[in-house]
């Protein structure tokens, strides 16, 4: 019998490993783990992450706890991760149950899939507060922030009512607490290092520190390619939109840049 711990908010008949958005995985995240995670630390991974990614974290850490909201995901992941404590439940439930901090908290799937149907609704900002409470002083927080003007969403040909199916349980953002630029991320988490990612949510293709972003011309090409990798049907050619954005000065570098790319990450 695979051992899974429980905190409040575990979801039944549910999985976050869906066709549109699966478990966080892939080379970009492995590279980030290798570069940013403290060695031999006590790490909490929050949200749906693939076993291979969690195992990579466990390989360099003294202790790893994985928190996922779906009880069936928890059971499946626990069977693949013998050295990791897998907890089923919501982030608010975890905070309420365990007065503990970790050397690092890793939320590479973002904060949209860490609360459950049993949680009180929270803003993005107050969900970040919960994650921050779990980080020890001088600890590391890795969290993905959704870019609010993701080309992959803006150009999505599906009408709004067909976009969010029964396989999703995520906030539909009109949340003013969600940071809308690199500057706002910096205001929220002073000293944060912000990286840009492109490509699908769960398996981004690239991870670039914001100061090192290519110029508008090259960036628009990267963006268009990244948007295509999400395999949706588009309202317009992503290359056309990306080029127009570059011409309009929307792909400028620096703290006021607008995350046009599918995801932006911060650490």
């Amino acid at each position: 019998m695979t051992d899974v711990s429980l905190v409040a908010g575990e979801m039944y008949d549910w999985t976050d490993d869906g066709p549109e958005r699966g478990l966080a995985r892939g080379t970009a995240w492995h590279a980030l783990i290798a570069a940013a995670l403290p060695v031999d630390g006590d790490v909490l991974v929050v949200g749906p992450h693939a076993a291979s990614l969690v195992q990579a974290i466990a390989d360099v850490s003294a202790r790893v706890t994985l928190l996922v909201r779906s009880s069936q995901d928890a059971l499946a992941l626990a069977s693949e991760l013998p050295g990791v404590e897998v907890v089923a439940g919501a982030l608010d439930g975890y905070v309420a149950a365990r007065a503990t901090t970790h050397d690092a908290v890793v939320a590479l799937d973002g904060l949209d899939r860490v609360l459950s149907t049993d949680s009180e609704p929270r803003t993005w900002r107050s969900t970040l507060d919960l994650a921050q409470q779990l980080v020890s002083d001088a600890g590391t927080l890795l969290v993905t922030v959704p870019g609010s003007f993701r080309l992959s969403d803006v150009l999505d040909a599906r009408p709004a009512h067909l976009r969010h199916g029964d396989d999703e349980w995520v906030p539909l953002y009109s949340d003013p607490s969600l940071p809308r630029s690199v500057r706002e991320i910096g205001d929220l988490v002073p000293g944060a290092t912000v990286l840009a990612t492109y490509g699908p949510w769960d398996d981004p293709a690239a991870l670039v520190p914001v100061p090192d972003l290519p110029g508008p011309g090259a960036l628009s090409a990267v963006l268009a390619q990244a948007v295509r990798t999400t395999h949706r049907e588009w309202l317009a050619d992503p290359a056309e939109a990306a080029t127009a954005a570059a011409r309009a000065g929307l792909l400028r570098r620096g703290r006021d840049c607008w995350p046009l790319w599918p995801i932006s990450g911060c650490w």
Partner: protein, 276 residues
């Protein structure tokens, strides 16, 4: 719409609140949640017509149902809250004494098993005053369940039958329950369940303790007893914090969703109110 709507005379109470026929309530345009529920508002194998409304007590079952792909939810608050609006005077001012203990009940298809004699001892050790045991008729009619409580000197009540297929519905079920709760100082049960919230809503102190007595065929995908402890810890224990219990009770009964008679009538019923 569905015979569950008539359970405990709840459709009747809502009809009366809306100025409609209490004895023969008009059809409700959907499914009415008939008891406190840790899931989507109904049992997991309940069958629904597509497109019909699901009238639930609060937003909590609505959220869980949405995640399961269910739609057309409308929180309206528990019918119990409408009964409280209708019966502001019933048994109010009576001297409150003792504990009304609800033995966690089975239903017509699921019998409970448990150690009744040990529960009697625990109730005796915990309750400071006289004890009234409330048994649902499915337990009341089983002598082997009833006897240990009678022998212990407890009073025994049974509030009636909730009815089935629209037949045998005791319309006074919840009125009797309300009067009894307002005459007791405490409400207690061996499992967190509907009656505990009803009691808390009329000022009873709350205790939930003792062998929870498993329901035969209980669906473990609800998380069982552990889930109750994780989500509603403030409701559990021989003695509980009154303010925390009151806040939880308001949430779970859906007090913020209480509708006016005109609003509820337009949501639930096609019928027009009777002329006075």
């Amino acid at each position: 719409m569905h015979h569950h709507n008539h359970y405990y005379g709840q459709a009747h109470i809502l009809a009366r609140y809306c100025g409609l026929d209490f004895r023969n309530p008009p059809r409700i345009r959907g499914y009415l949640q008939h008891g406190w529920n840790v899931g989507c508002g109904w049992n997991p194998v309940h069958e629904f017509f597509d497109g019909a409304w699901r009238f639930v007590w609060s937003e909590y079952p609505m959220r869980r149902g949405y995640a399961l792909g269910r739609r057309n939810y409308k929180p309206i608050g528990a019918p119990w809250l409408y009964l409280l609006e209708l019966e502001r005077e019933l048994a109010v001012g009576a001297e409150r004494e003792g504990t009304l203990f609800f033995l966690f009940h089975g239903w017509e298809g699921g019998k409970i098993t448990g150690k009744h004699k040990e529960l009697v001892d625990e109730i005796r050790d915990t309750e400071p005053g006289p004890v009234t045991m409330s048994l649902y008729y499915t337990e009341y009619e089983r002598p082997e369940v009833r006897e240990p409580y009678l022998e212990a000197g407890f009073d025994i009540v049974s509030f009636g039958r909730r009815g089935f297929d629209y037949l045998g519905t005791d319309r006074q079920f919840m009125f009797r329950q309300l009067a009894a709760l307002r005459r007791h100082r405490r409400v207690a049960s061996n499992r967190l369940s509907t009656a505990i919230f009803y009691g808390a809503s009329v000022g009873c102190d709350v205790g939930v303790y003792g062998d929870p007595m498993q329901l035969a065929g209980e669906n473990p995908s609800f998380g069982g007893q552990g889930r109750l402890a994780r989500l509603w810890p403030e409701m559990l224990g021989a003695h509980t914090d009154k303010d925390a219990v009151a806040a939880c009770t308001e949430r779970e009964l859906g007090k913020r969703w209480l509708r006016s008679p005109a609003e509820l009538r337009s949501l639930l019923f096609d019928a027009e109110p009777r002329l006075a």
